[in-house]
Amino acid sequence: MLDLPVLSISILLPLASALYITVFISHSKSLRKQVYAMYVAVLSSVLTLIATSYLLFSFDTKVEGFQFVEKYSWIKAIGLEYFIGVDGLSLLFVFLTALLTLICVVASIFTIKKRIKEYLLCFLLLESFCIGTFSSLNLLLFYGFFEVILIPMYIIIGVWGGENRVYAAMKFFLYTFFGSVFLLLAIIYIYSQTGTFNMMELNIKLPELSLEVQKILWIGMFISFAIKVPMPPFHTWLPDAHVQAPTAGSVMLAGILLKIGGYAFIRVLLPMLPEASLAFAQYVLWLSAFAIVYGSLVALAQTDMKKMIAYSSVAHMGYVTGGIFSFTEKGLAGAVFQMISHGLVSSALFLFVGMLYERHHTKEIGKYGGVASSMPLLSSLFMITMLASVGLPGLSGFVGEFLSIVGMYEISPIIGVIAAFGVVLGATYMLKLYKQVIFGEVKDPVIAGFNDLHLYEKLAIIPLVVLIIYIGILPDGVLRIVSIPLTN
């Protein structure tokens, strides 16, 4: 077996290609240069996907602890070390990041008209930083990646977004930056108390602190991660950012960035501050139940497709936080599964909206109708995705929602019932969306003339749908990978 630092390669390769694109491809408007930049981006994301698939397949699910660990000391004075590694939990997200980035790059080939070079640059940077976040085992390194993700996302929303993009970009940046400064203070305090940023050591040392201190640290970190997730009442940046971002930006936002919050709950908050987490779990569960119901109800009232899916994200992430803070094995497994599933499903939904938008140039639900007549393939794929989002058994959404509801029910039956009620609401708005857009009479003669999916659109969407079906039928693979890290 080759002894390559594959994990580092999957972080550094996108970074290196981003640098290559910046420095060596001159910024001319000629088509040739743009195509060249595109080749570089596609090649780099394909290679990264191969690297992460290699990680996924050579990962030993029976071994406890982290694999592919690399550790170099960096800045001793502030405890920073280059310390990365994956366990089953982070591996799934690393793979998801690589997959979605490739899909985003492919999906944007013909839809982005201006500044394609910078666009690809941002996505490659985003990929590198996200993989870095998921694989850091040093808390300061984690914070660094966590924070620097803001830069490419801010630019993506602000430059290639919709009409109100400037406002949305500023809101996104300031909101999340506001959250992360609390995380910064918390980790500095942790370092001043323990003298290490090594996550494994912190898992042992931090629970020794007094409960009062733990609680304050917990609140600081919780605000930061809850804004990322986002949990009501910290969610208001999400609809703006989602609606204004370009299609691929929404995909990354829903598919990866929201997951960082949930991932951080499991990786940082629960093991490091277990007592405080337990003490606050009740409130978080209620907030999650609120998120599920509130998100679904607000989604029901939306007339904009992207906004509806954005609010459905709030509801779906409610299952995630609820599952995590139920502290049951089933709930946690459900939460992780739900995150993966939501990463696939909401990405696919945003891609569908993007494809419709490309053809009709509106995201108003009312302007659509009868798309099925001209776009049968899109309609059937959309149907599968929509049903997965609703939680139909046999598709990915069901497993995650079911397990996390079971977890919540075990702790508090009322919350479990509320969450289960949310599933019905979820079905209401998704079915309504599907009915109005796909079925019904053809509202606009333009719709009858739509072309069905182009090749690049098929390439982008079909892998997602296949995965949605695959992990829905055989959830065992995913659950086995995460079982060891979660039982710890």
Binding site: T22, I78, E147, L150, F177
Partner: protein
Amino acid sequence: MLGQFNLILPEIALTVVTLFAQVVAVFYRSSLRFITLALIVALIGIITGLLYFVPQTEIGFSSSFEVSSTIHLFKALILGLTIMSIVLYKELRKISNKPIKMEFVTLMLLSTLGVFISISARDFILLFCGLELQALAGYAMAAFNVNEVKSSEAGLKYFVLGALISCLMLLGLSFLYGFSGSMYFADIKTVLNETFHMGLVIGAILVLAAILFKLSAAPLHIWTPDVYEGAPIAAVTYFSVAQKIGVLVVLVNFITLVVGDYVRISVDLIKIAAVLSILIGSLGAIMQFSLKRLMAYSTILNVGYVLIAISLHSDNGLYAALLYMFIYVIGTIGFFACLIALFGPKADTASFADLRGIAEQKKAIGLAISIIMFSMIGLPPLAGFFGKYYIFYNAILQGEIFLALLGVLTSVVAAFYYLKVIKYMYFMERTEELTNIKTNRGLLMISVFSIGFTLFFFIFASSYLI
């Protein structure tokens, strides 16, 4: 036999070189560019000398003038930043097709001489002379564009307020002398820390006020935005870069060598100034339109962070303060270089609206300014993050959680206006054509240095963070 003149060789060399260049420039008006270049080479020679001949810590001239390896390092640093300001000025004149005015360069170097003297001074008379020399040259530089109302106004404001604060400082010195019978730092420290006499305290506070004024810390910051807006951009660069570092070193000297452990001044007063500066710097900048005014408020804010570190009253805190200031000024000088490269002679009045859509036409400059802005926001892995991190880290280590909390919260507010720069450059469409300015070698060197430092600090940070 030079005797103790050894100690002031750098100052002598600086004076001689400056005055010689000025005299030559009077006679050979046609080859000003060459003279400036030769002057810069000579100054680089002085820097090399400063770094090469590292002296033992030694105090001379009736123990009023000290040299040490640290002081030499700072002098070299300040002279280096001064050279960069001179290069900015030279290139600006070249872009505007105007001859270099040697007087401006001379004033800048004389001001640097003042900085040199004041950071070596261990006696208040000498300190006062140094600060005055630095300030007087500064007033003249601020008012250098005599044809422009704003510039004259800036010079006048700066002068009136500066003269007032100098008077107060003299009053403070009289108090100090009257109640201790000495002008030496060491003597006053002994008396102050033993007797806590009210007169001495008043004296020390007045001197501190003068230093804070020059550092543009709130509540003595009022002059900063107006002077920054009116003064020529090269002068602003000098004020916010070389002079700021010099005054910061003076403040550190004053705190460690004079005030010592009298915490009412060395901790409490500094803390008040820090909190005020942070609040005024972050909130005041929100509604600004002029980029130079923005930088003025940004300076006030960052001086606030530096003061947090100083108020910790520990070696690590002082080190963090100096490191942060250094990182900040390197970013600032890169920003001003980019502004000049973008707007040339119009850089003096550049506002946010002028930045509209710049990134479309000037990709490299857009990227450079964004990197500096992200660094000033404090995003990892840029240099600004490490500076801020180090300050807050020391603050929390010493239990100053409130100050750290205030610091991070205001950095969110500050993020708003730094992002505004990026927003105008990248998210807005440009309506009018940009006057095309040819790529300029001097500006390019400065900005590449600044960006390189900001971007790659994390690679060699391990040797700077202790």
